[in-house]
């Protein structure tokens, strides 16, 4: 450990930090830069929204399907760019003491590890609806979505239910997507709660469900008679 600190030792700057931009935190970022950055951020926002809506439109109107990863990569890519802009200029990392950038870098590294390894495990296996068996499993809870259907259908006529469903559902553009693309499996028809059983009988215009091939198929009978 023998060394001679005295030679380059400076009273006011004991760690020689001046060279490493320690005092750069006094840099003033002018309004022009800030406005440019804001403009860029808004532009990217428009861009990412546009991309998503374009996909919806194409699949909806022209039945053109992109694989799902396109959407994800695009959105996340733009998000990262925006994040870098905010951190670099608004948060002034670009002019700041590099140590702060290092801190952030390690943070995102840790986040990546966390996500990566967890996904490595949980992505590797299919989980099942074991706990949705019968109604009250010890410690378990009810199959909420089936109950929701039943409760709603309880004292309403099938036509009424059907009408409201038609109104409510119209917002969901993606639901209309009908495709055979393997990357994008179709929205499923409802589980066989009272509601859907009823809706089936009433020949509901279930436009967002699976096509007629399925409607033709008999709804699964209730549990077969115990032998």
């Amino acid at each position: 450990m023998a060394h001679a600190p005295a030679k380059q030792f400076d009273e006011l700057d004991p760690h020689g930090a001046a060279g490493h931009g320690q005092h750069a935190s006094h840099v003033i970022v002018g309004p022009f830069t800030l406005r440019t950055v804001l403009a860029l951020l808004l532009f990217f926002t428009v861009l990412t929204v546009g991309q998503a809506q374009l996909e919806v439109f194409l699949s909806h109107a022209l039945d053109i399907e992109f694989p799902r990863w396109v959407n994800i990569v695009f959105c996340m890519g733009i998000a990262v760019v925006k994040a870098l802009l905010v951190m670099g200029y608004f948060m002034q990392l670009k002019y700041d003491n590099p140590i702060n950038s290092v801190v952030m870098a390690f943070t995102f590294l840790g986040l990546g590890l966390f996500l990566g390894f967890t996904a490595l495990d949980l992505g590797g296996r299919g989980s099942v609806y074991e706990w949705k068996v019968n109604y009250q499993v010890p410690g378990g809870t009810k199959n909420t979505i089936d109950n929701a259907k039943k409760d709603f259908a309880k004292d309403r006529s099938i036509q009424e239910v059907d009408r409201i469903r038609a109104i409510i559902k119209h917002e969901h553009h993606e639901d209309h997507v009908v495709t055979s693309s393997p990357q994008r499996s179709r929205g499923k028809t409802g589980l066989s709660g009272a509601l859907d059983a009823a809706a089936q009988d009433a020949h509901s215009h279930d436009t967002h469900g699976t096509p007629d091939t399925h409607d033709a198929k008999p709804e699964p009978a209730a549990t077969p008679a115990a032998h």
């Binding site: 450990m1 023998a2 060394h3 600190p5 005295a6 030792f9 009273e11 004991p14 760690h15 140590i99 390690f106 943070t107 840790g110 590890l113 966390f114 390894f117 967890t118 490595l120 495990d121 949980l122 590797g124 296996r125 989980s127 609806y129 074991e130 706990w131 949705k132 499993v137 410690g139 378990g140 809870t141 909420t144």
Partner: protein, 592 residues
């Protein structure tokens, strides 16, 4: 580390400090109330460190009592003898008015007790033990700073710690928790027994305290080192605390969100960890261990730092492989984020298990390097056989066992057999207690004169140390065999084949208690009637030995100027020492 401050004081004796510009930090105020108020509102890192120390020691005692109850209960294998639960009398002391009329009711009491032992030990004792007490006290002293970077934040984190602990105590008294300190879902999210939510909140709050302390230390080390102290002139305790602080900052927020989600789970049944609603219970384990494995190193790294310093000072020898030790601290901190999966070999997918097993072996390397360095530091030193050194040797003995028994647990085929057994229990007690607590005892004796200005009784200390050593091994070494022979963890009763080993273990735990009582007596005696401590009783070179014993309020009269490394015993006369007591001529030149 002789400090001749030429720049400001102009006095060659400036470094010797404490000629009464300020009194010692322990000096009472005018009235008793004023003193209390002064301590309650202090921003002095030393006072905060001392308050942490006593809080930690108190909770350590509480958790120890719980542990003894667990051991006592395990004296007998079968808990239900002719309509009466064995040991019920003992438990009624703890939860009065609760009749264990059935095996299960008896078990709940047992389950509560081991849960609280674990929760208190982990969240309230071992995690804050060294960083918040000794770290708070000595980190600024060792780098020659007047205080930590953010003194007010430091006080805040102390009060958050107090509040968190109070929540924990409340959970204990309001019916307790019986989920095990890991709060595994779906059991913890669905059990309607006890105060799980309260205990989870306690852990959540304590996490904040841990974050703030860590953040404070990182900035302190970066910005407040004394003039001339480069990164590689820092004492190794500072390095270790620095690495620890980084883990605290990066890992603790994840347990924060985990426990938050668990609370939401219990209150609103949002079901993120609940298979009934499409969640996944193993996801909770990932969340939990992403924090709780790194935190194992939060517990042990500062201990390693203490050992490095005490070892070097007590054998007056330049620590062997300074950089190796410093970097292995950072290495361990880094690897600790990659290995959490080895707590889940039996519940994870196969691929993940294999990957994690491979990564787990990595952590063995820097740990082994440290041990080798410590042992070779003894070579050609001059070893003082006093209590701190004795505890260092005990640490090396127990920690080696703890480390080596980690290997069968990282090896997947054997872990399949040993997972969740007493082997695991023994393993982590050898690391956590044989490692961290022994290091704490070493550091406590080593720095006791500096902290309180009084010497402790050397003989008493030695006796206590030996009792602790014996008791510890009798208690926990038997548990290795219990585990391999087939005894699962967290069992209130067991098949009769295991009775002998369990009884030996229980006897050991009481020897352990005896040892710690001796220490308690020694400390109290020292505070009451200990001899006045010199400024530098062991001949250490680091900056804390420059300050008074106990240090004055602002640590040093003026900012010290560092002229040489922390372990240059061969070339430096310790501060406040007469050169004739330390004849350097037979030391010769200091080689590198």
């Amino acid at each position: 580390m002789t400090t001749v401050d030429t720049s400001k004081s102009g006095g060659a004796h400036g470094g010797h400090g404490g000629h009464g510009h300020h009194g010692s930090y322990l000096e009472p105020r005018s009235s008793f109330l004023a003193t209390i108020w002064d301590w309650a509102t202090t921003v002095d890192h030393k006072k905060i460190g001392v308050m942490y120390l006593f809080a930690v020691l108190f909770l350590f005692f509480v958790a120890g009592v719980l542990a003894l109850m667990v051991r006592t209960e395990l004296l007998t294998p079968v808990r239900f003898v002719d309509g009466k639960v064995v040991g019920q009398e003992l438990f009624s002391l703890f939860y009065p008015g609760e009749e264990a009329t059935s095996v299960n009711k008896g078990n709940t009491v047992y389950n509560r007790i081991f849960t609280l032992h674990g929760a208190i030990m982990v969240f309230m004792v071992i995690v804050p033990s060294i960083p918040s007490s000794l770290g708070n006290f000595f980190l600024p002293l060792m780098i020659g700073a007047k205080d930590v970077a953010f003194p007010k934040l430091n006080l805040l984190s102390w009060y958050i710690y107090v509040i968190g602990s109070l929540f924990g105590i409340a959970a204990i008294t309001q019916g307790g928790v019986e989920t095990g300190w890991t709060f595994y879902t779906p059991y913890s999210s669905n059990t309607d027994f006890g105060q799980v939510t309260l205990m989870v909140l306690a852990a959540f709050i304590l996490g904040f305290s841990s974050i703030l302390t860590g953040l404070n230390f990182v900035v302190t080390v970066h910005k407040l080192r004394a003039p001339g102290m480069g990164w590689f002139d820092m004492p190794l305790f500072v390095w270790a605390t620095y690495a620890t602080a980084i883990i605290q900052v990066l890992a603790t927020p994840v347990i924060g969100i985990t426990l938050l989600l668990l609370c939401l789970e219990r209150v609103f049944k949002i079901g993120i960890f609940d298979p009934a609603l499409g969640g996944d219970p193993v996801l909770y384990q990932h969340f939990f261990w992403f924090y709780s494995h790194p935190v194992v190193y939060v517990m042990i790294l500062p201990g390693m730092g203490i050992i490095s310093d005490v070892l070097a000072v007590q054998s007056r020898k330049h620590i062997f492989g300074y950089k190796a030790i410093a970097f292995s601290s950072l290495g361990i901190a880094a690897v600790s984020f990659l290995v959490w999966g080895h707590h889940m070999f039996t519940s994870m997918g196969e691929i993940a298990s294999v990957v994690f097993s491979g990564l787990t072996f990595l952590v063995a390397i820097p740990t082994a390097v440290k041990v080798f360095n410590w042992i070779s530091t003894l070579y050609k030193g001059t070893i003082a056989l006093n209590t701190p050194m004795l505890y260092v040797l005990i640490f090396l003995f127990l920690f080696s066992i703890g480390g080596l028994t980690g290997l069968p647990l990282a090896t997947m085929s054997t872990d399949m057999h040993l997972h969740d057994t007493y082997f695991v229990v023994a393993h982590f007690h050898y690391v956590m207690m044989g490692g961290t607590i022994m290091a704490l005892m070493a550091g406590l004796h080593h720095w006791w004169p500096k902290m309180f200005g009084r010497m402790y009784n050397e003989f008493g200390g030695m006796v206590g140390a030996i009792l602790v050593f014996v008791g510890f091994n009798v208690t926990f070494f038997t548990q290795f065999f219990l585990g391999t022979q087939g005894m699962p963890r967290r069992y209130a009763s067991y098949v009769t084949e295991f009775q002998t080993l369990h009884q030996i273990s229980t006897v050991g735990s009481f020897i352990l208690l005896l040892g710690f009582l001796v220490h308690l007596f020694v400390f109290i005696h020292s505070l009451m009637a200990g001899a006045k401590a010199p400024k530098n009783p062991w001949g250490g070179l680091t900056l804390e030995w420059v300050a008074d014993s106990p240090p004055e309020t602002h640590n040093f009269p003026h900012e010290p100027l560092v002229k040489n490394g922390p372990y240059d015993f061969e070339s430096t006369v310790p501060p406040h020492w007469d050169p004739k007591d330390y004849p350097l001529e037979n030391a010769g030149a200091h080689k590198h």
